[in-house]
Assembly symmetry: C2
Homo-oligomer: 95 residues x 2
Amino acid sequence: MQVHTVRDLGAAVREARSHQGLTQAELARRAGVSRDWLVRLEQGHPRLEVQLVLDVLAAAGLALATGPQPPETADQTEATWDELFSHLTGESDNG
Amino acid sequence: MQVHTVRDLGAAVREARSHQGLTQAELARRAGVSRDWLVRLEQGHPRLEVQLVLDVLAAAGLALATGPQPPETADQTEATWDELFSHLTGESDNG
DNA sequence: GCGCAATGTCGCCGTACGACGACATTGCAT
DNA sequence: ATGCAATGTCGTCGTACGGCGACATTGCGC
C-alpha cells in the first residue's frame, strides 16, 4: 500500500489492528504509546512523532519500505486489504 | 529498503538527496522545511513530525509503502542504493 | 594560503505534542 | 431496555519540537 500522508498510515494501522482483533488499548500497550495517541494516529493527525509511528507499525505487524519513486506510475492495481491480511484473519479462505 | 527506525529514513533521504546532487538547503526548500530540521532527519532524530518526514520523502523522490510483515523473513538480498538510483545518476549503466 | 559552498551546531521563542484521567457516545448481545 | 466493551473527546501539565539567525568546521578548487 502506498503511503503519501499520515491518513494512509492511520488507515493501514487501523486495518491491520482490526484484522488481528486487537483493541486500540491493546495495540497502544504493545507499542508503548497512549491510547489517546493511537486514536490520533488512526485519524491521520499530521504532527506525530515519527519514531512512535514506526513503533506502532511494527506492533501492528506492518512493514515499511522505501525506495526511488518509479519515474512514472500509472494506476498500479494492488491487492485488497482482505487479501493482504488473509494469512492473519483466516488461513483457509478458499471454498 | 526496509524501514525500522528514523535512522533508516534519514539514510534513505541522504542517499536520495546526494544521488540527485541536491543540497540540504535545496531539498529543505522544496519540501517546505528548515535546513536545520533536515539535518536532524538525516541524523535520525526520533521525534520529528511524521507528515514533514513524508513531505521530504516525496521531495527527495522516494516512495513509501506498507503492508503486512511476512510471517518469516530470512535475509532478503536487496539491490544496492547505487542500483536503486541508477536511473537518476546515470541512465546507461550497462556495458 | 585563500575564498566559497555545504554541513553541523547553538540559543531563543511560540507552539503543539504526548500522557493521564474522566466522561459521552456507540455497537452488540441478551 | 439494560449492561459491557470499545472508541472518541476534553483539559491539564511537562517537555521538546520547528524555525530563525549566526557561527565553526569541513572539503574542494585555484
